[in-house]
């Protein structure tokens, strides 16, 4: 479904991602792990067209998307829940959710139904629907960003550190949500620093280091890999 080949991305003169190739099959949950500065965020941004790659190709559903604008990528059902939340500080929670649905694909659920679903997943969003996002706590904001992404009815969801700043109890909820999204057939590309969690959720994983893919395997295999254990899990 999503195929990245030979991706290169540069910031100014410096190349941050050199030659990354990865594929995510239909309905698969793939995770991308790597230490700080490895290029995970950069890769996702390139896929969602926030950054323009300097080399390589990106195809989604068989179509080249590396020359599109971000809104065109979303229209095709590829939705990115970004690192750092990227909310609209003076807009309310509800407005965020409405905007999320604005360009989404029509799906089985109508807007009202979808809204109810998101509210059920994260009751705090319902409770705070008229609060301005800028005044919410860090974790609450993270949920707004996630909820906004869900409202777009994604075919493929890219999550950049979705558990960042969440209390353990909410992390569990979120993990359940991701699992059930995956269960309903949504394709997911997950970037997550809670590597153990990510590997337990995922089917397959890529390990990124300094802008290159250094390992690629089924999540279970990697979870057991001693190199992963020492480098990422601190065991």
């Amino acid at each position: 479904m999503l195929k990245v080949e030979g991706l290169k991305v540069r910031y100014g003169h410096r190349e941050a991602v050199h030659n990354v190739s990865l594929t995510v099959e239909d309905g698969e949950l793939v995770t991308l792990v790597g230490s700080n500065g490895a290029g995970k965020t950069t890769t996702l941004k390139a896929i969602s067209a926030l950054l323009r790659p300097s080399g390589g190709t990106i195809t989604f559903d068989g179509e080249r998307i590396d020359r599109l604008a971000p809104h065109q990528v979303i229209e095709r059902g590829l939705v990115h829940v970004p690192e750092g939340r990227q909310l609209f500080p003076d807009m309310t929670v509800l407005e965020h959710l409405e905007l999320g649905a604005l360009r989404g694909r029509p799906g089985s659920m109508g807007f009202a139904e979808r809204l109810r679903w998101v509210y059920e997943l994260f009751p705090i969003l319902a409770e705070r629907r008229t609060q301005k996002a800028g005044t919410m706590s860090g974790g609450q904001q993270q949920l707004v960003a996630f909820g906004r992404g869900l409202m777009a009815n994604p075919k493929c969801l890219m999550l950049d550190e979705p558990t960042l700043g969440l209390a353990p109890i909410i992390v569990d909820t979120l993990a359940d949500t991701i699992r059930s999204l995956h269960g309903t057939g949504i394709t997911i590309l997950l970037v997550e620093q809670r590597v153990d969690l990510a590997l337990r959720l995922a089917d397959r994983a890529y390990v990124l280091e300094t802008g290159r893919v250094v390992m690629e395997d089924s999540a279970q295999t990697l979870l057991a890999d001693p190199r992963i254990k020492t480098a990422y899990l601190g065991l």
Partner: protein, 268 residues
């Protein structure tokens, strides 16, 4: 003389004393009647569900948000409502939950700029280039590099803060806070965006910070970090302190598990 020392430190060993602190936003009470103390040299963890009021409490301690009521004593003197720069001058440094650094300066300059509190040679000295100035600059540079190395960023000394990845920026923030040589360091989710291995390095770092004589108040959702570095935990829920005590005890408290931890007492 002894008396002076006594009075300036207040209750022996108590660097921070918060009593009945409350903050109200419109109709919402974000922090309600919180009383807690931190002793010199301690590492205290402040945990609680999202929206419990941890950051709000930090904002009040750091002086960027005036409390609605209650009082804050730092180092024996009343600091309630003191502005941010006064708290900074007195030795309270903090990191912010939302990444906050000097974006278009290099890592090294971020740290050097942050050392304001500990340097003396101002514009005049720089114009004269006297010995004291040169010595201090040399010393500052050395110290800044040392702090960068301490935070595992020495290889990034010349990188613009803006051009760093999220995790690196989080470490740079700690470096910035350390450069002020604080007496009390407030860390708001420093491990966010770090993987468990990096989290463990952070634990090491906090230990070394404490070894430097800095008292630490830590907000964190990574229980492994919290459990392994904190002497004591304070738990907030809906702005109210619901538990306090050593990690082993607090993390097994039924109420804390119910509102905060969920199924697993200590997640990895």
């Amino acid at each position: 003389m002894n008396a002076a020392v006594q009075s300036s430190t207040g209750n022996a060993g108590e660097i921070l004393a918060v009593s009945n602190l409350t903050r109200i936003f419109g109709g919402l009470t974000a922090v309600r009647d919180v009383t807690m103390t931190v002793r010199t040299g301690e590492v205290v963890g402040l945990i609680g569900p999202n929206g419990a009021g941890k950051t709000t409490l930090f904002n009040m301690l750091g002086g960027s948000l005036p409390p609605s009521s209650g009082s804050i004593r730092f180092d024996g003197s009343d600091c309630t409502g003191a502005p941010s720069h006064v708290m900074g001058q007195r030795g309270v440094s903090r990191t912010f939950q939302i990444t906050s650094l000097f974006p278009s300066l290099t890592a090294l300059d971020n740290v050097r700029s942050a050392a304001y509190r500990t340097t003396r040679a101002g514009w005049g000295a720089a114009i004269l280039r006297n010995a004291a100035y040169r010595r201090e600059e040399e010393e500052l540079r050395r110290k800044a590099l040392e702090i960068l190395a301490f935070c595992d960023l020495d290889h990034r000394a010349d990188t613009l803060a803006d051009a760093m990845s999220y995790g690196e920026q989080r470490r740079l923030e700690i470096a910035i806070a350390l450069a002020a040589e604080p007496r009390l360091l407030l860390l708001d989710e420093p491990a966010a965006g770090m993987n468990p291995e990096e989290g463990q390095r952070l634990v090491e770092m906090i230990r070394r910070i404490r070894a430097r004589g800095v008292t630490v108040l830590l907000v964190e959702h990574h229980m492994r970090v919290v459990a392994s570095v904190c002497d004591r935990l304070v738990v907030l829920d809906h702005g109210v302190k619901i538990a306090e005590g050593p990690p082993a005890q607090v993390l097994n408290d039924a109420e804390v598990i119910r509102v905060y931890l969920g199924r697993e007492p200590v997640d990895a």
